[in-house]
Point group: C7
Chain length 283, copies 7
């Protein structure tokens, strides 16, 4: 009875012109651990928090290399990301074979955007349940794109997706003016600090749960995982997270707590019509 | 129980002959920021307000160049606009290759209209969620077309779509008699004034949030973004918005406020059968 | 609960053998402004009322030229009419290329009828939401056909579709005996008078809102729009509308007022089983 | 709640083995004006009542010539009949081209029967909403077949379909023993008398509302419409309708009146399980 | 609310493993008039009761010749039987052309069985609504098969389908031990007596309502209709129906009466889970 | 309201991970009469109970020969079994033609298993409603496989499916240790005794209702039906069924009685979530 | 009324971004008996518990050999696992034919992951209902992957799936630090101990219910079943299960007991929104 009547599929508009299934897909991103990206004049960095399913398993892959000049960080449904990364690899390979040059970052980003848009306009498919940060370096320099299930693809100086990513964004907003002139090393450390701000209070960045991707001028895409991450964490030192983190975290934590408590009920009560951020209809 | 029974898809008529899903798609346009277009005897101008998703991101693209003589401004779902602009580019390229001349503006506008109409008559697709202002200059002079998800394509002297666009229309209606003889510069300034009237009270036109597209006699399509917009804003000067703006804005603001307040509830209560403007059935 | 259970799609009969979705499509015609057609021994005339969406826009196209000997007037969903007119143009072109003669008016009219019938018998499409008056002159003389979304195609001496079209029909019924021997000019004036009777009390026929199409013996299809309409309106003079108009208008106005008032409610209450005119099952 | 649960489509049986959608399609026939057919040893006659939509229009076509030896009369949805007649014409043409002889009447009748049966056994189509009387003369003599949307095709000596057709059947039953030896003229007059019995009390057979089709030995199919009907009506004279007519008419009128009164309610109440004549399951 | 939830289509099992739509299709057979078949060592006979739709029409075809050695009797939806008989004829023709011999009776019976089974396992089709008695004579002698919409095909010594067929079965069961050694004539008379037992009390076997099919050793399939039936009815004489008939008839009549009375209500009340004979799951 | 919400089709899991439609298909097996299979070191035997639809008909086929080394016994929907046996025959023929050797028993069993699995994972089909015992002898000796609609295929020493099959299983479990060294004759007798235990109290194994299939070393598949069964029944003698039978039977009878009584209601009340044996998820 | 509205299919998100049908598919795994896998520097071991359907049948296959260097253990729907293993075998064969080398373990694991992801994003299919442990040895050493219906594929040092697998995981977590340096024999024994911890209290590992798969350096994939398992069980000795087992078991047993008791009700009550482990959205 209380059911939202317009959220069955992604091809039905609500009377106010919204596509709820697409918005719900965006919620799936928030259930993945955070990924952060940022750009200087010469490099792009993506860092991500790996969630350890169990002690017995390797941590999950959060950063995936696509090509020599290109990589992605993800938040949301990992199998969907794998499918999209396979597609990107094919596009990159085709570009090399047909045009004899690496695929431009903007083009590959828009190609997954168009692929995703189709899933929001055709009955019988579902929007992808994953957000991506696409980091690459091409003839026009370093680029960072955020990809969303709606098909939205936007370029950013700094971006963060996934759980508690607002804390990372707060850090980025305070410091992004210094990014353009950062060295690759400084850029990585900024990224790690932003990522650290997304951690719960009793968690720390560890070589097991941190992934770093770096690409830029004269720097082929390099993925730092496990032991390789160690040197970066040492450089980061032991400085606590910024004050902004605490505040944002607390607010988010409260919201999350509320959400988790009410989740079972959520299914059958009216869908709140005021999501934190209207995502789809901006343009 | 209170659900509108005829708004599940775009292929079902209500007893009064309306297609609600198509009308809901038009609502998606109103959730995008405004775009304005106007025509003189020699030029067409489109100006648009970019919404900044976050400080960290570049502003979103609101004006897209299609060809040397053709560009569009959009309001609504950006991924849908990207798909349509890709289609227009293909049509333009085909015209050049096959007929060895730029595609006529009216033809490309009607081609996206026909493409959109199919989505309103076939089960399993959804109407596009975006409105476009198509601006171009061809053998028959400058043209401005408004494209809507219903497939409606109409030529205008001046047009405005998106949030608070009524304020811009009010400005255009007061001044359109002077447009035909405007110089390109005067036309741009008229466009910016109309666009300014769509701003909320505490907002101003800035180089970051304003896009300008100009095309006409001896003037290939030129897109002014960011710094390039500066000179135009200087020419615009600091004159406040017209009185008409205030009034229309207030009325709209009230309506918007009411809408936002009642939005969550809207989903499950009867769809009001009296939209502000009946769009579909005019002919 | 009160919902009509048999009006979901055009392939489900009600227990009384009716196809409600097809009937609802006919309602979409009534929401368009009126079009009128009439025939003499030598000519056919179609006249139509253009609705001005806004002051800023050109008036909408109500009469469309198909071929040298053929044109249509429409009422209802304009994008649907555009699709049908494209189809008619293709048919006309094929006839010239294959048979080396203009397409017979009856044939092209029945071809769109058959095309429309398919949409009433196949799941996943919707009946067209537009009515057409097809006017043409061929080897067998002048012809006027009315096309309806049900696929019904009938020849008329005089016909009127769209809003308040009953008033026009009343005029035609009173005067149709004089049509056969009318000159082209007299026929146009009869058409304009019938059209004028569909106007609301505070409206007049103007060069901006009136379209005229004329075709006949030694008269290729000619479309009078804007300034070209001026000479006809002068000939029409200032004579008020006929008495019959007032009466019909009042009755219709009351009905329309009632309809508009109750429209929002209409959606969820039983569909009245007694439409003004049973359209589908006549034969 | 009261809705009949087994009448959504023509591929679902009710617990008693009935196909309601097919039965509802038969109701559409009853909403068309009557057609009557009858056979002598040498000729077949079909006569039909044309309903005049408006004074302005030509009367609707009720009898359609298919081939030199073949024609049909219809009752129900005219566009469906047009589609079926197109199909019959193709079959007839094929027969001439491939077998070099006119298509046998029984074969063409069964071919539309098979075509119609498919629509009752496949999801996503709807049964035709029209009944036909197929009249033709071939090597085996004159034949009259009745085609129904269920795909049922039966040969008759005399048959009547459409509104108030029971009155015509009553006439035919009283007189059919004399048909075999009738001349063509006598047969036409019998047909007209039967047709006249289906008229409402204040209606008469007129040249405008009567169609006659005649085919037989040495008599190619001839359609009498408008003026051509005049001589037949003169021969018919002014004799009132038979007594049987009055009685049947009254009974039917009562039923019809009841039906019309309760029609709006019919939609949401249980479908009465006792139609006047069980049509489908006879064999 | 009381609706059986598992009888929407033939691809959904009830919790007890039943396919209700298939069972409902079997009910359609019971609404046709009876057909009876029986076998001797040398011949097969099928007899059937034709229902006269009206005095004016020829009686309906109940027995159809398929090939020189093969024929069917039907009960249920005649158009479905026509489609199946067309299919059988094609199979028979193919056999002659490819294998140069008449199609074995068992094979053609199983081929329609397989065809019917597909309709019970694929969404979007409906099970055939007709039962057939397939009678033929091939290298292995005379055969009688009963075909049901479920795809069940079983060989019988004697069988009866359609309305009141239980009375015929009672007759057959009492007499079948004498069948093997019957002459063709005796076999036909047994069949007619069984058929007579299915008649309502005020009905008699007449040349108009009786069809007889006979095939066997040195006896190509012969269909006796109308006058040809006369000699058989004379041989049958005037002996009343057997006592068993009365009893079975009375029981059935009561059941039927009950059914007819409660039919309209049946639609919306729980489907009784105890059909007279569980048909599907026997094997 | 009480309806199980997850049993509409075989592609929807319940919250506990069950596929109810697949489980319901298994119920269809229980409505067929019993089939029993058992294996020695050299032979496989399948025996089955034929249900006589009527005295007039031949008993139904319960054992079907597939190839010289292969046969099946079935319980459930006979038409489904026929389709599967046709498929097995094609596979067997292909094996002979392509590999020049009889198809291995395990392979053909798994091929129908894979075919059946598809029907449990694709929308618009239904799981087969039949269980099979596949008995064959190949290079690796005698084999007995049980096939279920879920696609489950397991090898057994002894197996029983269909109504009251638990009684047969009880017999098999008590005696299976002696099977390996049985002669073919002893194996058949064991099978008959197990089958006899599934009979209702007032029933006996007769030549009319018993089928026997035997295949093994130097023993091509042989089917004993009707008279051929006689010698086996004589060897079986008159010994009553084992004590275990009585007990199992009584328990089952009670359950069955309960089921039959409550069956009509079952449709609309909650599906009991505790089937006798969880079948699907074992592995 | 209490029904979860977003769990009809795997292409609909809940408002919190979850795909319930995919989560339900994961529940199907828990209904299978446990499988355990673990890795040393040189070998991979998979062990599994076979559930005996009946005494008469062979135990079910829980470990399947795919190639010389590759095997899988499964928990959940066995037919689904068979389909996936067929697919893996084809992939392995293709690799050998095309690349002339054994397929890398990671690649084949991701290929079934991609295959499974498709079933979660396309309407009309269902997610696989089975989990797999993929064990193989290739150029990069021994690997153990866990495959889930969501398409998630993760590499593990030790893993356990199926009923009571938490107890096995507890064992693995306590001992995994010693795995890398284990000999193959030690690794198998660790696996058996972990598997033993999943047994109910009154059950023991037996040669009938235990399967072992071993592959590694110089060790082609070897499957130990039945008698072959004996030597391993002897080596395992009679030591009881670890203390951790008892505790975990008790907790799980209670949960299971509760689940079984409430299962019938579960279907129609709100789905609890807090599954033990959020599986899908980790990445």
């Amino acid at each position: 009875m209380f059911r939202n009547s317009y959220d069955n599929d992604s091809i039905t508009y609500s009377p106010t012109g919204r596509l709820f299934q697409v918005e719900y897909a965006l919620e799936a991103i928030k259930q993945g651990s955070a990924s952060v990206g940022l750009v200087s004049k010469t490099h792009v960095v993506i860092v991500a928090l790996k969630r350890n399913a169990e002690e017995l398993g390797s941590y999950q892959k959060k950063i995936i290399r696509i090509d020599n000049h290109l990589g992605i960080a993800l938040a949301g449904l990992a199998p969907d990301a794998r499918v999209l990364s396979n597609f990107m690899r094919q596009q990159a390979m085709t570009s090399k074979m047909v045009y004899n040059k690496p695929i431009p970052v903007a083009r590959v980003a828009h190609e997954i955007g168009d692929k995703a848009q189709k899933n929001t306009q055709t009955y019988g498919r579902r929007p992808y349940g994953v957000g991506l940060l696409v980091a690459g370096y091409d003839e026009t320099g370093p680029h960072l794109f955020e990809f969303l299930p709606s098909g939205t693809v936007l370029e950013y100086f700094g971006a963060a997706i996934g759980a508690r990513s607002q804390s990372a964004r707060t850090y980025l907003e305070r410091n992004f003016e210094s990014f353009p002139d950062c060295t690759a090393e400084e850029l990585v450390l900024h990224g790690l600090r932003a990522l650290r701000d997304t951690l719960a209070q009793d968690k720390e960045l560890l070589i097991q749960n941190t992934s770093i991707g770096l690409v830029g001028l004269d720097t082929p895409f390099k993925l730092y995982d496990n032991e390789d991450v160690g040197e970066w964490l040492e450089k980061l030192g032991d400085v606590g997270s910024s004050r902004g983190r605490r505040q944002a975290e607390e607010a988010e934590a409260e919201a999350a707590a509320a959400a988790e408590t009410s989740a079972p009920a959520d299914e059958d009560i009216p869908v709140p019509d005021v999501p934190a951020e209207p995502i789809e209809t901006d343009d």
